[in-house]
């Protein structure tokens, strides 16, 4: 983990209530897809944890959904503004554990970390298959970005207004040997129940510090108590207790 000042390059709406924020600054603490950053915002005491969508040597891209006052304030930050950020938090997706044909399953605000995961799988010589779930057509984002990576990509919408009608579990392909998933708990549980292979699941919880100090986000697993912020957010399928 590092603490640093990051400059806002752009902060733009991708879909209603969904924003893409690009920050320039030190990315040396990021080691795996699925990690997150913790952003200090004026007028709020606790930082706001946001998962990383993509990063390179120059900076970080995050995509976030406006769900409360903190994320609403984040959506009003302007290019050129500096933000105090803790970077490289959490235990992300370990690509070495993934199979040759790994599903990258994202639901709504869980889609962004799947982008960096797909890139990392490609870099490791593995084949990612993206399954992106949304409620309806106007909420869909990043479909073209996944396709531009050359990744086989399926999109589902609950109301059938775009892609396949239904949920991500309706789009599971015939052959795959591993999955990674990030999204709402009901989606994660549905994937867990539907997919017979081993997998990694990324969980969300309200956090205090984001780096393992306060025990604010602890959950029980078959391997013992785990802090979602430090030991997670990515957990092994085999350890999850629903």
């Amino acid at each position: 983990m590092t603490q640093g000042i990051y400059r806002v390059e752009y902060n733009r709406a991708l879909a209603p209530g969904v924003w893409e924020l690009r920050l320039s600054g030190d990315t040396s603490a990021l080691t795996a897809p699925g990690q997150f950053i913790n952003i200090k915002l004026d007028g709020f005491y606790l930082r706001r944890p946001i998962s990383v969508c993509d990063w390179d040597g120059e900076g970080i891209t995050v995509i976030y959904k406006v769900v409360g006052k903190g994320t609403a304030a984040l959506s009003s930050v302007e290019p050129g503004q500096d933000l105090d950020i803790l970077c490289g938090l959490g235990n992300g997706f370990d690509v070495s554990k993934c199979g040759r044909r790994t599903l990258a399953i994202g639901g709504g605000a869980g889609v962004p970390p799947m982008y960096a995961l797909a890139k990392a799988l490609l870099a490791a010589g593995k084949t990612p298959i993206a399954i992106l779930g949304f409620n309806k057509k106007d909420e869909v984002f990043y479909e073209d970005r996944f396709r531009a990576l050359g990744v086989e990509t399926a999109v589902t919408t609950a109301d059938g207004s775009h892609g396949q009608k239904g949920f991500v579990t309706d789009a599971l392909p015939e052959t795959y040997d591993f999955y990674c998933a990030c999204g709402p708990i009901p989606m994660l549980k549905a994937v867990y129940d539907a997919a017979p292979t081993s997998g990694l699941l990324s969980f969300e919880e309200r956090m205090g510090c984001g780096f393992g100090a306060c025990m604010g986000c602890t959950c029980k697993t078959k391997y013992g108590n785990k802090r979602i912020c430090k030991d997670g957010p990515v957990l092994e399928k085999e350890e999850v207790i629903w």
């Binding site: 983990m1 005491y45 309200r206 205090g208 780096f211 100090a213 306060c214 025990m215 986000c217 029980k220």
Partner: protein, 305 residues
């Protein structure tokens, strides 16, 4: 050169800065970020006799200039702390450490204190009779002078180490509780623990925290803490450790002027993991700004006569 050192029950601290229990784990999370030997000491995660998972989540909520927590004393239990956490702590921290202890009965407090009393690195016992987030224990011992005195006596009987009773602000007269602890043999008191509080989610009309209530900390409580330290300093002769929303070297000096012999820093660690390092770094310059050569001379300096 200014002198930042203070003495706490015969043990010299290089400076009065002490990360507060529950915000600093057993030290090694922070040791990965900076050399924690720059601290006066730190108070490790509240430890009970048996392991505890704590409360269901959400355990954390935002507040204006602060946060609510209802962690509920998650810890691996005293035996595991002694066997596993303290050896790891020893690798990264080479000064006496403050053992923070909680319980659900007078006997449990004494048993846990006796267990941790054997640990060489433990310099002080900080006995938490003020946790607002557990049921049938914790704070209930800190809201009556008689119960506070009973715990104090039971703990003092099983240890030769200095005992600091950690007091609750959720009382009508904190000075009376502090006096009861002093009369029962406490070597010092530390205050304040968090303020009992609640937030409600407007969407589902339910409390934000799964536990319903939680403890408020952060800068929001700082003036309450200063007032209580001031009152307790007038009521007792034993040292007072002040805490509650301290975030800067200026806050440390204000707390010491109110009567604190040392100062704990809690919530600030969760927002800025380098908060205590920065306060230690800033302290000499802020002392010079206010004409303070020897920090221990300002303790209680706000009290006239």
């Amino acid at each position: 050169m200014v002198d930042t050192s203070v003495i706490l029950s015969g043990i010299k601290l290089d400076n009065p800065i002490i990360p507060a229990s529950g915000t600093f784990g057993y030290g090694y999370e922070f040791a990965a970020l900076y050399d924690i030997n720059c601290l006066g000491t730190f108070s490790f995660k509240g430890t009970t006799h048996a392991p505890r998972f704590g409360n269901p989540t959400p355990r954390i909520a935002e507040a204006p200039s602060g946060l609510l927590n209802a962690v509920g004393l998650q810890n691996p239990g005293a035996e595991k702390v002694a066997a596993e956490e303290l050896p790891k702590l020893r690798q990264v921290f080479h000064k006496p450490v403050m053992a923070n202890i909680s319980g659900f009965s007078v006997e449990e407090y004494a048993e846990t204190c006796a267990l941790l009393d054997k640990e060489e690195q433990v310099g002080w016992l900080e006995v938490n009779i003020s946790c607002p987030n557990v049921h049938n224990g914790g704070m209930s011992f800190g809201t009556s002078p008689d119960a506070a005195a009973e715990v104090t006596r039971a703990v003092k009987a099983v240890t030769t180490k200095p005992v600091y009773m950690k007091l609750s602000p959720n009382v009508t007269d904190i000075a009376a509780i502090a006096k009861a602890c002093e009369d029962a043999g406490a070597d010092g008191v530390s205050l304040i623990n968090t303020l009992l509080s609640m937030r409600i989610n407007l969407k589902n009309r339910k409390p934000l925290l799964a536990n319903g209530t939680g403890g408020l900390s952060g800068p929001a409580v700082f003036p309450v803490a200063v007032r209580m330290v001031y009152q307790v300093y007038e009521a007792v002769k034993i040292p007072v450790i002040g805490m509650g929303g301290v975030s800067s070297a200026e806050d440390v000096i204000e707390m010491m002027l109110a009567g604190a012999s040392a100062v704990e820093v809690g919530a600030a660690n969760l927002v800025n993991p380098f908060a205590c390092r920065d306060i230690v770094r800033d302290l000499p310059e802020v002392m010079e700004k206010y004409g303070i050569k020897n920090l221990s001379e300002i303790i209680g300096g706000a009290h006239n006569g």
